[in-house]
C-alpha cells in the first residue's frame, strides 16, 4: 500500500435531505406559508385582539355584515366570524393532525406487519384493509359518526378506521420494496428482532412518501371534518367548527354570503396549504 491510498476521500456531495431542501421548492413554501399563517393564528388566538368566539353581540345582529367592529361580520347568533374562524383553526389544526397521526399509529404497524411477514399475515391484513377501503369513504364516515355520535374523539376514531387501511397499504407497499434489500438481510444476520427491523430499519425509509401522504391526509381530513360539519355531524357546539359554519351560512348565502364564504375560504386555504406542501415535497423527492 502506498501512502497515496490514504488520501482522504472526499465525501460525495449530494443534495441534502428533503426537509432541508424545502426552501428550494416554491410550491412547498407557498403551502407552508399558508399553513403557517393558520398555525400562527391558532396559536396566537387567545392573545390576538379578538372577540370571544362564542359571545353573541346582540346589537350586531341587525347589521351583521362586515364592519369595523366585526371585520368579517357576525353570524346568525351575532358571534364574530373572524374570531370564530381563528378559534376554529385551533380546532381543525388539533383534530386533523391528531386524527392523521392516530391513523398512522394504527396503519403503519399494520402495513409493516403485512409487508414484513407476508403470507397469511399479509393476506389477513390486506383483506381487512380492502374491505374498509371498498366503502365509499363518506358513507363510511356517515355511518360511523351518525351511529357513534359526533365528538372530537369519535371523529378521530372514524378517521382512524377510515384512513389507517390506506396508510397500511402504502406502508405495506414501501415495506415490500425495502424488505428484500440487503440491509434488511444484514440486520437479520446480526439477529435483530422483527420489531427492531420493522421499526428501526424499515420504517424510517418509508418516510419520504409517508411525509407527502401525511400532508395530503391532513388536508383530506380537514375536508372530511368540514363535510361532517356540513352534514350536521360536526364537532359539538358551541366551539367553532368550520364545516358547521359554512353549513349555517348556506341558508343565507344569497343575503349574507360572508357567513359561509369566509369559513369556506379558511378551509380551502388551509387544505390548499397542505396540498401544496405535499406536492412540493413530492416534486423534491422525485428530483433526488
Amino acid at each position: 500500500m502506498t501512502a497515496i491510498d490514504h488520501l482522504p476521500a472526499e465525501p460525495v456531495t449530494r443534495a441534502p435531505g428533503l426537509l432541508r431542501r424545502l426552501p428550494t421548492s416554491g410550491v412547498a413554501m407557498c403551502g407552508l406559508a399558508l399553513i403557517l399563517v393558520w398555525v400562527l393564528a391558532a396559536i396566537l388566538a387567545p392573545v390576538l385582539p379578538l372577540d370571544p368566539p362564542n359571545k353573541s353581540f346582540y346589537a350586531a345582529l341587525a347589521h351583521s355584515a362586515p364592519s369595523a367592529a366585526h371585520w368579517l361580520g357576525v353570524d346568525k347568533s351575532g358571534r364574530d366570524i373572524l374570531a370564530r374562524i381563528v378559534f376554529g383553526a385551533r380546532q381543525v389544526l388539533t383534530v386533523a393532525p391528531t386524527a392523521a397521526i392516530a391513523a398512522y399509529l394504527i396503519g403503519c404497524p399494520l402495513g409493516l406487519l403485512a409487508g414484513y411477514y407476508g403470507g397469511w399475515v399479509d393476506a389477513a391484513i390486506s383483506r381487512l384493509c380492502d374491505v374498509i377501503l371498498s366503502f365509499p369513504i363518506i358513507i363510511l364516515y356517515v355511518i360511523l359518526i351518525s351511529t357513534i355520535g359526533p365528538s372530537v374523539l369519535n371523529i378521530v376514531l372514524a378517521v382512524v378506521i377510515a384512513a389507517s387501511p390506506g396508510i397500511a397499504r402504502i406502508v405495506r407497499g414501501l415495506t415490500l420494496e425495502q424488505r428484500h434489500l440487503d440491509y434488511v438481510a444484514a440486520a437479520q444476520l446480526r439477529r435483530e428482532s422483527a420489531v427492531f427491523i420493522m421499526l428501526v430499519e424499515l420504517l424510517p425509509n418509508c418516510r419520504g412518501p409517508l411525509i407527502t401522504d401525511f400532508c395530503l391526509r391532513i388536508g383530506y381530513t380537514i375536508i372530511t371534518i368540514g363535510i361532517m360539519g356540513f352534514l350536521g355531524l360536526g364537532l359539538p357546539p358551541p366551539d367553532p367548527d368550520w364545516g358547521t359554519m359554512v353549513k349555517e351560512g348556506t341558508v343565507m348565502i344569497s343575503v349574507h354570503p360572508y357567513v359561509s364564504l369566509f369559513p369556506a375560504i379558511a378551509i380551502v386555504t388551509l387544505v390548499l396549504g397542505f396540498n401544496l406542501l405535499a406536492d412540493g415535497l413530492r416534486e423534491l423527492a422525485l428530483k433526488e
Binding site: S56, S77, S146, G232, P236, P238, T250, M252, I253, S254
Partner: protein, 510 residues
C-alpha cells in the same frame, strides 16, 4: 276554545279565488299509510286534503265545526253531542254517517292500533286496565262512552269534565276515514275532502287532484303537488328562488333573511304556542332542587334569546309553556334576567361554585342550537356550566323522557290546558320531566272543568306562576310559525300547526 260551534262555512272564501293551476308546495313527504297513527304534521298535510276532521281549529286558535256541523255540551262538561253534517259525500258517493264517525273514534281509541289520540283522551274517555297478556292497556271507561244517538248524531260521555274535546277532535290522527278502507290510506283512498291522491312517491312527492262534488264546493285550484325538499334549509331556498315550488309548508327561522330577500315571495306568519322547552328532569340532581331550576330560569335573557334563536320572530315565554296567543292564557309577568339572584339561589341550594350539566340538543330543529349556545353563555355568567350534546333529531325521541336536561320541540296546541295536561300533570306519559306538583294537578283539573273563560284564565295564571317558581322548564321563547308563498298564491294563511288546506288556495296566472 269556544265551546259551542260557530257556524263555519269553509268554501265561502273559495268563491272569490282565481280558478285553475297547480299549487306546488315544498315539504317532506313521509309515509301516509295509516292516518290514525300519524306522528308528523307533514303526514296529515297530505291526507287532510282528502280526509277530514270533525272540527277545525283556525289560525286564530278558535275551534269551529267542520264535519260536525255543531255541538252541544252539558254544563258539567262531561257530555258532548256532535251533530254530523248532512249531505257529505264520500268519493264513491255514499254519505257520511254517525256510524262512520264512531268507527273512526273507536278505532283511534283501540290500543292495538296505537294512535296518539289515546294519550290525549285517556284521562276522560279511557280506563287503564291490565290486558290478557299481563301488560297494561286501555279500554273505554264505559260501554256508552261513544254513543250513537241517530244517523247523524254522536255523543261522547266523559268520565271527567273536559273543555278541549273539540280541539282534541282536530288532533291530526283523528281524521275520518271510510271504514271500507280499513284504516289504510293511499292512492284511491276514499275521503270526504276536496282532493284525491293520485300519485305518491315516498320521500319525493305527492300529487293531489281536485275532485268534484265536494260538500263545501269545489276547490279553486286544479290540484296540488307536495314536493319533498329535504331537510336542508338552503335547498328549499334555492328551490323557491328558482321557482321550482310556489311555497313552503313552513319555513325555518334560519331561512328568514334569505327568503325575505326574494321579492316574488309573500311572507305569512302567525303567533303560536310552538316552542322548544329546555326541560330538566326533576328527579335528577342537580335539577331535583327547585331553587336550581329557578336559578336556571333567572339566568337567561329572554329577549336576547328571541333575537338570536328566532331573529325576533316569536314572543317571549315565561317558562310555563302557555302562550299569550292561546285563548285561555292567564296573564303573568315575563321574568327578567337576574344573574345575582340566580347565583344566590344556587348557593342556597348548596352549589356556591355553580353546577355543571349536559344539555341534549336534537339537531333537526334549526333554532335550538343557537338558543342553546346563547343560553350556555348566559348560564356561564351565573356559574352554570352547561355542555351541549347535539344528537340526531330522530334519536332524541328515544331519550326525550330520560335525559336529565334536554330541549324538546312542542308544537302548537290550541289551548293551554291541553298543553299542561299533556306534559305536566303528574304521571302522564308525556310528562318528560317527571315533575309532580299536587297543587298544580288540582288546579289544572279545576281549569279543565271550568267552562267560563275568564275564570279559567285566572286559574291558568296561577298555574303559570307555579311553573315559574317550581316548574321543570326553562322556556324562554315561542316561535312564530311562518311561511313564504309566491305572490300569485292567494288565500293562504299560516296555520299555527303548519297545516295547510288546498281549498283555501287560488293561484293567479303565472
Amino acid at each position: 276554545g269556544t265551546i259551542t260551534g260557530e257556524p263555519f262555512a269553509p268554501p265561502a272564501a273559495a268563491e272569490a279565488l282565481p280558478k285553475g293551476g297547480t299549487w306546488r308546495i315544498g315539504t317532506r313527504i313521509k309515509d301516509i299509510k295509516s292516518p290514525h297513527t300519524f306522528s308528523w304534521g307533514e303526514q296529515s298535510n297530505v291526507a287532510r286534503q282528502v280526509v277530514e276532521y270533525l272540527t277545525m281549529t283556525g289560525d286564530d286558535n278558535v275551534t269551529r265545526p267542520y264535519l260536525a256541523e255543531s255541538w252541544d255540551v252539558s254544563p258539567d262538561l262531561k257530555t258532548w253531542t256532535f251533530h254530523i253534517r248532512k249531505g257529505v259525500k264520500w268519493t264513491k258517493g255514499d254519505e257520511l254517517t254517525a256510524d262512520h264517525v264512531i268507527w273512526n273514534l273507536k278505532r283511534c281509541l283501540d290500543p292495538a292500533v296505537g294512535s296518539s289520540m289515546i294519550g290525549l283522551v285517556k284521562a276522560y274517555l279511557l280506563n287503564e286496565v291490565t290486558g290478557p297478556d299481563g301488560k297494561p292497556t286501555t279500554e273505554l271507561w264505559a260501554p256508552n262512552a261513544i254513543e250513537k244517538l241517530d244517523d247523524h248524531t254522536v255523543r261522547l260521555n266523559c268520565k271527567l269534565p273536559q273543555v278541549a274535546v273539540p280541539e282534541h277532535l282536530f288532533h291530526y290522527p283523528m281524521s275520518i276515514l271510510h271504514p271500507d278502507d280499513k284504516g289504510v290510506f293511499g292512492i284511491g283512498a276514499q275521503g270526504t275532502g276536496p282532493f284525491e291522491l293520485t300519485e305518491f312517491d315516498l320521500g319525493k312527492r305527492a300529487v293531489l287532484k281536485r275532485r268534484t262534488g265536494y260538500w263545501g264546493g269545489d276547490a279553486a285550484i286544479d290540484g296540488m303537488e307536495q314536493i319533498d325538499i329535504g331537510d336542508d334549509p338552503s335547498a328549499s331556498i334555492a328551490a323557491l328562488a328558482s321557482k321550482q315550488i310556489d311555497g313552503l309548508a313552513s319555513a325555518y327561522p334560519s331561512q328568514y333573511d334569505a327568503l325575505k330577500a326574494l321579492t316574488h315571495l309573500q311572507y305569512y306568519d302567525v303567533k303560536t304556542a310552538e316552542t322548544g322547552v329546555m326541560r330538566m328532569k326533576t328527579d335528577t340532581a342537580p335539577f331535583n332542587d327547585a331553587r336550581v331550576r329557578k336559578a336556571m330560569r333567572l339566568a337567561v335573557d329572554r329577549e336576547a334569546l328571541l333575537q338570536v334563536a328566532l331573529r325576533g320572530l316569536g314572543s317571549v315565554g315565561a317558562d310555563s309553556h302557555c302562550s299569550p296567543v292561546l285563548p285561555d292564557y292567564g296573564t303573568v309577568a315575563i321574568p327578567t334576567r337576574d344573574v345575582a339572584a340566580a347565583k344566590k339561589l344556587l348557593a342556597e341550594a348548596g352549589h356556591p361554585d355553580g353546577i355543571e350539566a349536559d344539555l341534549v340538543v336534537p339537531n333537526d330543529i334549526d333554532w335550538f342550537q343557537p338558543m342553546a349556545e346563547a343560553s350556555q353563555q348566559m348560564w356561564a355568567e351565573a356559574g352554570i356550566k352547561i355542555n351541549l350534546k347535539p344528537i340526531p333529531g330522530a334519536s332524541y325521541w328515544d331519550v326525550w323522557t330520560k335525559v336529565p336536561f334536554g330541549i324538546t320541540i312542542w308544537y302548537h296546541r290550541p289551548l293551554c290546558t291541553m298543553l299542561l295536561g299533556l306534559a305536566y300533570r303528574t304521571g302522564v306519559p308525556w310528562n318528560e320531566s317527571g315533575w309532580s306538583n299536587k297543587e298544580f294537578d288540582a288546579l289544572l283539573t279545576q281549569a279543565e272543568g271550568t267552562l267560563d273563560l275568564a275564570k279559567r284564565k285566572e286559574i291558568l295564571a296561577k298555574l303559570e306562576t307555579i311553573m315559574e317558581e317550581d316548574g321543570p322548564l326553562v322556556q324562554p321563547v315561542f316561535r312564530n310559525v311562518f311561511s313564504f308563498q309566491d305572490k300569485r298564491v292567494k288565500g293562504y294563511t299560516a296555520h299555527p300547526s303548519n297545516y295547510f288546506f288546498g281549498w283555501m288556495i287560488g293561484l293567479d296566472k303565472a
